[in-house]
Subunit: 279 residues, 2 copies
Amino acid sequence: MKVAVIGLGLIGGSLVKSLRTLDIATNIIGVDASPEHQEIALSLGLVDQCLPLEEAVNASDFVIVATPVNTIPSIIRDVLDLVEEQTVIDVGSTKAEIIRKVKGHPKRSNFVACHPMAGTEYSGPEAAVSGLFTNKYVVICDHGDSDLEKFEMVRSMFEKMEMKVLLQEAEAHDTHVAYVSHISHISSFALAITVLKKEVDEDRIFELASTGFSSTVRLAKSSPATWVPIFEQNRDNVLEVLDEHISVLSDFRSSLIKKNYEKFHDLICEANKIKKILK
Amino acid sequence: MKVAVIGLGLIGGSLVKSLRTLDIATNIIGVDASPEHQEIALSLGLVDQCLPLEEAVNASDFVIVATPVNTIPSIIRDVLDLVEEQTVIDVGSTKAEIIRKVKGHPKRSNFVACHPMAGTEYSGPEAAVSGLFTNKYVVICDHGDSDLEKFEMVRSMFEKMEMKVLLQEAEAHDTHVAYVSHISHISSFALAITVLKKEVDEDRIFELASTGFSSTVRLAKSSPATWVPIFEQNRDNVLEVLDEHISVLSDFRSSLIKKNYEKFHDLICEANKIKKILK
């Protein structure tokens, strides 16, 4: 199968790596606005050639849109304007806005909306890694609006990658990712800023990283190019969970202020319940 | 060297594992209030025997106090009441309160106040792991109050464990750990509670864990028995950095409310500066 991947970053790059390893992709065409990304992707062998979008779509059987989420709707519309039989997927972390904006397109059913739920804090084609998606979940949204055969093809492709496929409505998906994934990123970004502000001695930060800071702050290295559009598209859900998070932190604060260590103990026990879900 | 370890948990257990591997400890005596912990430590071979505190101290050359930080001062005083030539260390995560409470003891100079800065989210003797401290930092506080020879012996012991030794005053140490380590724990505890409150569907939490939540929430599994006393002893420093953290989260919140995505972008760029320190 000839695959076009639009957006040569962590997710697009890792995805085509897997497709090549599994012999699902025989030929991979890259599309990226950045000549530097094109060059790196070519030199790493992620793609066989780079072409402008229209040529890439015309030359392929399968199109992956893996750009920042704010650019996905218009790219998908452009791609759908060009396709005949090709299947088109996106891999964005938000889904409702994207699906809303492609609604009613005459080729809507060629499109399958996907969110492979894995990542790292790194970005760009050099961040692409084999096996990123193995044993991870992928959500396919509003699959009833996709052509059944194309949907089954996409599902089977993810299953060959050893991913677990979930079906969800886009609105529900966006709420769930805000509640778990997006708040984790804000929490980590805010922790980084807090520590950089308070601990002016960088050596101390480095020395103390092993006390737990390094894992908690890992996501704070995530790129604004990827994440600002996600927060923009999922603003309302994120605000709701962020309010809750600030309120929980205020509970910790007030129990410290009141020297109410029993309450503090109870809060930690409440947090410990996460062990039931994540071993 | 005969070693007594008081408190058979993650840190005490991991430490004697290293000392045994390096042949620094030829005989290890465990002391623990919990018969269950004694039994596990014996069955895991962490210790050769378990004895009551007085007998253990009398039978050893080197005493490690590795109990929750609120119990350390009185245990150290009890141990110092018993010792002749033995060297005594603690491994608590806070130092000022402990050092204040042993001040003026006639055997104060037998004591070297230490904080080996490593850990995991697990606790108890079964959580002890070899190599936990390799390449990590250890802080020795107020070493001028310790006998020079004993201090040098302790320093050399940590260096044989491939640890990097830092010397700090206790007050400064406590401020630094609040600013980096302790706030990371509160942030993680609060994230766990937030997600558990908002995301009532546990399956969704599990499925989404790979999106970054699992690393950010790792510390939320940490035990209240260890951590409540740490927050109690380091309350003022923790409150200061917690206020800052809530204020930074409020900046994220207000930029979302105002749809000021440029500001949101700037905040992420500020957070990204952590990459300079932690690769």
